[in-house]
């Protein structure tokens, strides 16, 4: 009896939800905004699907309806990846502790 690979993916999915649940509860409330911007950035890993779609055209015709949607998705996801990580970086750089603030 073979187990459908779907079941394995489903297991990963369910376990990841639990991991996410515990990890996110441990995020300090003062960092909830960076949490949102970073989750935004990482969910743009959807770009891997977009890249496959973009490269689906053959060598004579790079652009077909399918690959054009892929390219558009690449651009959208790239905005998110760069924008998301950089704005998170910018925000996190502002969180400082008391003391040793020269000014």
């Amino acid at each position: 009896m073979e187990i459908d690979p779907l079941i394995f993916r489903l297991s990963i999915f369910i376990l990841s939800i639990f991991v996410g649940y515990y990890v996110v509860w441990s995020v300090t409330p003062s960092l909830h905004t960076p949490l949102m911007s970073v989750t935004n950035a990482i969910s743009s890993v959807i770009i891997v699907g977009a890249i496959i779609a973009g490269l689906s055209g053959n060598s004579d015709s790079v652009f077909n309806t399918s690959s054009i949607f892929g390219f558009l998705a690449i651009a959208l996801a790239a905005i998110n990846i760069f924008g998301g990580f950089l704005v998170t970086q910018r925000m996190l750089a502002m969180y400082k502790k008391k003391k040793k603030e020269k000014k």
Binding site: R9, I12, F13, S16, I17, V19, G20, Y21, V23, V24, S26, V27, P29, S30, H32, L35, M36, S37, V38, T39, N40, A41, I42, S43, S44, V45, I46, I47, V48, G49, A50, I51, A53, G54, S56, S59, T65, S66, S67, F69, F71, L72, I74, A75, L76, A77, A78, N80, I81, G83, G84, L86, V87, Q89, R90, L92, M94, Y95, K96, K97
Partner: protein, 465 residues
């Protein structure tokens, strides 16, 4: 070209790095390292995708060009955006994730062979289900986030838009989405696929328009969650571990944030989603508004009160963000500290327009994060503090939430501002807050109202200190 197994392992690695990225956010010290893990995970995922397609033809150049174009736009936005506009930015980014998910699903539907999903017209059943769910959720995320963005940006009115038969209509549309997915899977008809997308865009729009401005923290968190589930749906279609893990992480993250926000308002999730909170209360509040005496003062009085205090608690709210008063506020606090006055900040979970909104603004103004406290941490300190300085907050300080079971905000956790020896309330007018109810705090013996723009008033107080 690397083997499918090897690339699957790398995708797993990037999934783990994403978990570490979120884990890093448990404290500000580790957060920057966490962000670095996230970036590393993304680089690995993209590189492995390139290697596994093994296609370095002309198409590859276009992929790089589109990444570059999108990346520069993203980087430009990230550096230019003011911190007060963070909620709009996040809503905007959510819409992009949603739309990207839709585009990938369209692409996979039109050319399933590229993804190993079968032939057009006979896509594998499982993949088709996953794909259509991913596309539908992505479309809802997109149109919902666009509306949230427009509302936050002020292009669209923040007040709820309701009409008769709204809920039945939404219910019918949601049911029709399920039926459409079922029909699509049994017929493989591309027309049904387009209809499904159109209907999903429509429902995203309809779900968000009845939700008012101050409920935005819930909406943004909810859309955050949706963008995760959309990514996970696509991840199942593409059989990609990194995408499945990430989708699950983001999905649960958004769900937890929505839960925290709802609890901060003592409202059920459905109550918020069904919307119309602000609209119904407007009339009742204006009719019951009798003239009650308030004490109002100027910057001089406020400065006098604070100068003679030994501890001050600052309660910031959305009004501070609107007035961009965070820097002026920090200057005032600096002056207070020079006079040996203890200052701390109290932040209500739903202050502002998104989770953690106030914390970011204070951090931007160089307020050390260990002076900033959450509701549970600081609520007992109000009784011992001399002055509470409420700047741009309203409903979250309203004692009526504790005393009047008739009030729409009854049961909502509030900051015990009234326990302070004196309360300074910076506000532009006596108008009620978002919930449409009068704040009893305005009329208390020990409350001094400071009617002015938050930024200007804070600056004036600093001058008088």
């Amino acid at each position: 070209m690397i083997s499918a197994n090897l690339s699957a392992i790398f995708y797993l690695v990037s999934g783990v790095l994403f978990i570490l990225a979120l884990r890093g956010l448990s404290s500000p010290e580790t957060s920057r390292q966490g962000n670095f893990f996230g970036i590393l995970g993304m680089i690995i995922a993209v590189t492995v995708t390139f290697l596994s397609t093994g296609n370095f033809s002309s198409g590859f150049v276009y992929v790089l060009i589109f990444i570059l174009v999108g990346g520069s736009i993203g980087a430009f936005i990230a550096y230019r955006i003011p911190m007060t506009a963070m909620p709009e930015l996040v809503a905007g980014f959510h819409s992009l994730v949603g739309l990207a998910a839709v585009f990938v699903a369209i692409s996979a539907f039109l050319n399933p062979e590229a993804f190993n999903l079968g032939k057009p017209g006979s896509i594998k059943l499982g993949s088709l289900i996953e794909m259509s769910i991913g596309a539908a959720v992505g479309a809802i995320t997109f149109s919902g986030s666009v509306i949230a963005f427009l509302k936050l940006q002020g292009i669209m009115s923040g007040s709820p838009i309701t009409f008769k038969g709204q809920h039945p209509l939404n219910a019918i549309i949601l049911i029709s989405i399920i039926i459409l997915i079922y029909l699509l899977c049994s017929t493989q008809s591309s027309n049904l696929f387009w209809i499904l997308l159109a209907v999903s865009f429509l429902i995203g729009f309809l779900l968000i328009i009845p939700i008012g401005g101050a409920d935005m923290p819930v909406v943004i968190s909810m859309l955050n969650s949706y963008s995760g589930w959309a990514a996970a749906g696509i991840g199942f279609t593409l059989e990609n571990t990194a995408l499945i893990i990430t989708g699950a992480l983001v999905g649960s993250s958004g769900a937890i944030l929505s839960y925290i926000m709802c609890k901060g308002m003592n409202r059920s999730f459905f109550n918020v989603i069904l919307g119309g909170f602000g609209a119904t209360d407007e009339k009742s509040s204006s009719s019951s508004k009798e003239q009650r005496p308030v004490k109002s003062g100027n910057a001089d009085d406020a400065a006098f009160l604070m100068k003679n205090a030994s501890s001050v608690i600052i309660v910031p709210g959305y009004g501070m963000a609107v007035a961009q008063a965070q820097h002026a506020l920090r200057e005032m606090v600096d002056t207070l500290k020079k006079n040996d006055i203890k200052v701390s900040y109290a932040i209500h979970p739903v202050a502002g327009r998104m989770p953690g909104h106030m914390n970011v603004l204070l951090a931007e103004a160089n307020v050390p994060y260990d002076e900033v406290f959450e509701l549970e941490e600081i609520n007992n300190d109000f009784a011992n503090a001399d002055v509470a300085f409420v700047i741009g907050a309203n409903d979250v300080t309203n004692p009526v939430a504790k005393t009047d079971p008739q009030s729409p905000i009854y049961g909502m956790p509030v900051l015990d501002v009234e326990k302070c020896k004196s309360v300074l309330f910076v506000k532009r007018s006596l108008s009620p807050g978002y919930a449409g109810i009068d704040n009893d705090l305005f009329y208390k013996e020990n409350t001094l109202m400071l009617f002015a723009d938050a930024k200007k008033m804070t600056e004036d107080i600093t001058k008088n200190l």
